[in-house]
Amino acid sequence: MNAVVEARRNVRVTLRVNGEQTEVLFAPYKTLLEVLREEMNLTGTKHGCELGECGACAVLLDGVPVLSCLVLAIECEGRSIETVEGLARGSELHPLQAAFADLGGTQCGYCTPGILMTAKALLDKEPDPGRERIREAISGNLCRCTGYLQIYESIEEGARRMREEAK
């Protein structure tokens, strides 16, 4: 076969997603978003443009919020990947998840996983951020339903519950 087909080989990479090591075989053009959704069936991570223009696909890479649509999966070997599926502890919701569900932080739910992961990264670093910090932190996540205000309230309440738990 010619060189083009030679180049069209799948790659085998070990990914650590939500603390679990998995060996995955995929086409090297696939972004982390595609590998999570299509190769690992982790469809909790959403997509709205695949060009870095909406924030729906945000996940944490070594604890930092990034857009999985613009991360090459082959560059993720050995790095820690966190998705919305890893947020709850068993069947118990993460305090942020509970607050979003309680306070209207989620309507259609499509931007929610990306915002939850972004908010988690913020609160892991700053347990008691003010409204302005929250506004800035999620300004890379478009939401078409809520007008953002109930999202802020959910993050504030999630932060409060996390601080309570930490006591």
Partner: protein, 821 residues
């Protein structure tokens, strides 16, 4: 309905029943559906705005490794369209394309990458045709028709109605205000891109999972488009990742994957790219408007003549209804003794427009509310007082024969005036800062379905079993608005259990009774009333069983908090589960159904079916702006809004709908626009969407969103479940005019069009500085060949709701010497 005053579920702020699944990422949107042996589809779209297809050669694509099937227009002989009167689309264009993005072929392959590669191998020969880019061009060029049907030329719909002699009313008015407004088109922009999966089951029947707001309409239209028995098709509406009206049509790709799955016997998925979502569109029509409004010195309106011109895009979609909606709801907020309404929708070579949040009504509402601000200014009346002085009466009829039930508009105005500090701020803030007020109204569900029938608009089925399990089935569709939550809450309230103890099965034409869908803000009222009926029927059976066991009469039994007990002795009772067991033992398997049809509308004239609703919601909004005089830069620091909800089923969700409407309204007011670009005509015939991306189609980020103070006015409407009216669309309407009015208050310039951008503000400021009319907006209204109007006498002029037999006496007189502004 239960006579108990106290509610356990309704009205309490709660976690919505589907909240947990949304925050865990477990909600299955259409693109999350994965089936064994699934293939993937991509569609080839026209690069020409208007062209004849001479030939399509798919042979190279068919031979591409990994390709399973290539479809073209030949595979789809039957046209379709969401409205029976507009069957003008084809799944894949057989001979003509009408906008850039119109699909012509589809490839089904082992994966998306392969399908995309194969698209490049399809050769299509086109002959470009004359392109119509605007309504003005459509009027000027009746030939080279975009469609062979419609009124004539490139006019899709044209109509005129007159409710009382408006010219006479204007002639007797102290003032006549004449204003032109333009509302630019914009799009829904759900973050979820449309996706569909089609599969044929073991019995050979088709199932379609799709991002749709209207599974029942899709079911009907799909059966027709595929020429398949509807009983062999099941449409499952997955929860939508945002709809806003953009997922209300049957879309090309839904038919394409269905046909492909039937042909191949394997599941086939498609997920549109963002660019393709812009091509699906069906969004807000660009509308040019002309208002002539007669006013007395006290600010009361004597009559209004409204003319609208809609840019419809390349296909009909819901356009026949949209055309009506650019006028019919004008009379429901303020007393309007006489009303004349002319409307015209043209075809253009752009993606079709359709229903977006507020469907056709935000455009004339913008014009009306800005014009009222001008009237208040001229007559030196406070804009809030002006409106309060003429709020429509409850339980009244409008000039065009719409029946208004409850109306909380006055209370909405008083509350926003109060919380915004309006009286201390309006016309009193320093230069560069200002407040604007505007109101809106919307229907709680359209009075008629989109196809003629006498059957219910919503059906609900309940199933109870001895385990205490309650399952509710309804065709209503969860698009983020919380329809599952409303359904569960209403059933739970009636049966006296927790909302989380109700299992919802919704939006599945194979399992659920028909509900017409999540559009026209109809779900809470129609599904809710059907759910109450179903639940009341079961509650009676349960109360009877409990009464028999407790040896009391059934009227004394209360179902609440998971128990059945005596009203006067709550300690004496049994659990809900035991009650169900007793009832099942007594009656056999327990189930019930409920259904709802809206009340008959009083209008009898042809066209009077668009506008009636079981109830209207009302909203008042105050927006504060800061405008920089040197640059025209606009900032919105704060918004106050009061919404007449009737009753909030779940106040958390209701507030979310109000704030989400403010958000979307600010987007439409300040930046969102679906605009197109032509290239120099000597070099190119292109007519392309200027900015089909989430980056360049500007929607507000969190940093652009102001604080919003929301007030809910609760005055239960007797037509509505527990009194609850709509909230999904109405609160959007006043936002755009309130921004425009605030800009006037801040810097004394009128921007009579949206979006209101800083360059327009600066241009108006420059005009103001030169002593010219400090206004930016449309300058002229083209000659539109509106027909002679259908005349209907208003109720107070002896009408009976029918069109009068006699033709109108004389053509419109020219009014000389009238005060016009």
């Amino acid at each position: 309905m239960s006579t108990r005053k106290r509610f356990d579920v309704v009205g309490k702020p709660r976690r919505r029943v589907d909240g947990r699944s949304k925050v865990t990422g477990l909600t299955k949107f259409a693109d999350d559906v994965v089936l064994p042996r699934m293939l993937h589809a991509k569609m080839l779209r026209s690069p020409h705005p208007h062209a004849r297809i001479d030939a399509i050669d798919v042979s190279r694509a068919e031979q591409h490794p990994g390709v399973h099937l290539v479809l073209t227009g030949r595979d789809f002989p039957v046209s379709f369209g969401i409205m029976p009167v507009s069957q003008d689309e084809f799944p894949l264009a057989p001979e003509r394309v009408r906008y850039v993005g119109d699909p012509v072929a589809a490839v089904i392959a082992k994966d998306e990458q392969t399908a995309s590669e194969a698209l490049d191998l399809i050769e299509v020969k086109y002959t470009p045709l004359q392109t119509i880019a605007t309504p003005e061009e459509a009027l000027a060029h009746p030939e080279a028709r975009i469609h062979e049907y419609g009124e004539h030329g490139n006019i899709h719909r044209i109509q005129a109605y007159e409710f009382g002699d408006v010219e006479e009313a204007l002639a007797k008015s102290d003032h006549v205000f004449e204003d032109l407004f333009f509302f630019q088109g914009n799009t829904h922009l759900p973050i979820e891109q449309h996706a569909s999966v089609a599969a044929v089951d073991g019995e050979g029947k088709l199932t379609l999972w799709s991002s749709t707001q209207v599974p029942h309409y899709i079911h009907r239209a799909l059966a027709r488009a595929l020429q398949v028995n509807a009983a062999h098709i099941r449409v499952i509406a997955c929860p939508n990742g945002g709809g806003f009206g953009g997922k209300c049509d049957l879309h090309n790709h839904e038919i394409v994957v269905s046909r492909a799955a039937m042909r191949l016997g394997r599941p086939v998925k498609i997920c549109l790219t963002r660019e393709e979502v812009f091509y699906m569109h069906r969004g807000r029509h660009p509308v040019l408007m002309k208002f002539r409004t007669g006013v007395m010195n006290d600010g009361k309106i004597t009559g209004m003549h409204l003319q609208t011109l809609l840019d419809g895009g390349g296909y009909g979609s819901y356009g026949a209804a949209s055309t009506f909606y650019t006028g019919v709801l004008q009379p429901v907020s303020y007393e309007l003794p006489r009303f004349k309404f002319d409307a015209c929708r043209t075809f253009t070579n752009k993606p079709p427009c359709g229903p977006k949040r507020g469907h056709g009504t935000p455009q004339p509402r913008f014009g009306q509310e800005v014009q009222l601000d001008k009237i208040a200014e001229k007559l030196r009346i406070d804009p809030a007082e002006l409106r309060l002085n003429m709020v429509a009466k409850p339980n009244s009829l409008t000039a065009n024969w719409l029946r208004i039930g409850s109306i909380g508009l006055a209370e909405c105005i008083r509350r926003v005036v109060d919380i915004s500090g309006w009286k201390d701020k309006h016309r009193k803030l320093p230069e560069g800062r200002g407040l604007g007020l505007a109101c809106g109204a919307y229907m709680s569900g359209a009075g008629l379905p989109i196809y003629w029938n006498k059957m219910p608009h919503s059906g609900v089925q309940l199933l109870l079993d001895r385990s205490g399990q309650v399952t509710v089935f309804c065709g209503a569709t969860e698009i983020g608005q919380g329809s599952d939550d409303v359904l569960a809450a209403i059933v739970a309230e009636v049966l006296g259990i927790d909302a989380f103890d109700v299992r919802c099965v919704t939006g599945d034409t194979g399992l659920t009774p028909i509900d017409l869908g999540s559009y026209s803000s109809r779900v809470t009222v129609m599904m809710g009333n059907a759910a109450i009926q179903a639940a009341e029927r079961l509650r009676e059976v349960l109360a009877e069983a409990a009464a028999e066991h407790l040896e009391v009469s059934p009227e004394r039994i209360v179902l609440a908090q998971g128990r059945a007990f005596l009203a006067e002795d709550p300690g004496r009772g049994i659990s809900f589960r035991e009650t169900v067991e007793l009832a099942e033992a007594k009656h056999g398997t327990l189930g019930s159904v409920g259904s709802y049809s809206p009340p008959r509308a009083p209008a009898r004239y042809k066209g009077g079916g668009v506008g009636p609703s079981p109830a209207y919601s009302y909203t008042a909004c105050v927006v504060e702006v800061a405008v920089d005089a040197a640059t025209g830069w606009i900032t919105v620091p704060r918004v106050w809004i009061a919404h007449d909800i009737g009753r909030a089923i779940n106040p958390v969700s209701v507030r979310g709908q109000v704030e989400g409407s403010v958000y979307m309204g600010l987007g439409e007011a300040l930046m969102e626009e679906q605009v197109f670009r032509r290239l120099p005509p000597k070099l190119s015939g292109a007519l392309v969407h200027k900015i089909p991306s989430l980056l360049e189609y500007k929607s507000l980020t969190s940093l652009d969103m102001p604080e919003v103070e929301t007030v809910l006015i609760e005055d239960p409407d007797p037509n509505c479940p527990f009194g609850a009216k709509e909230v999904g669309q109405g609160p959007l309407l006043p936002v755009m005019p309130a921004v425009a009015n605030a800009v006037w208050d801040a810097v004394g310039v009128r921007i009579d069009e949206v979006p209101i951008t800083p360059d327009k503000v600066l241009r108006a400021l420059e005009r103001k500085a030169k002593g010219e009319n400090p206004r930016v907006g449309p300058e002229s209204f083209p000659a539109v060949p509106y027909p002679e109007p259908i005349c209907v006498a208003p109720p107070w002029e002896g009408g009976d709701g029918n069109a009068s037999k006699e033709k109108r006496k004389a053509p419109a007189r020219k009014l000389e010497g009238m005060a016009a502004s």
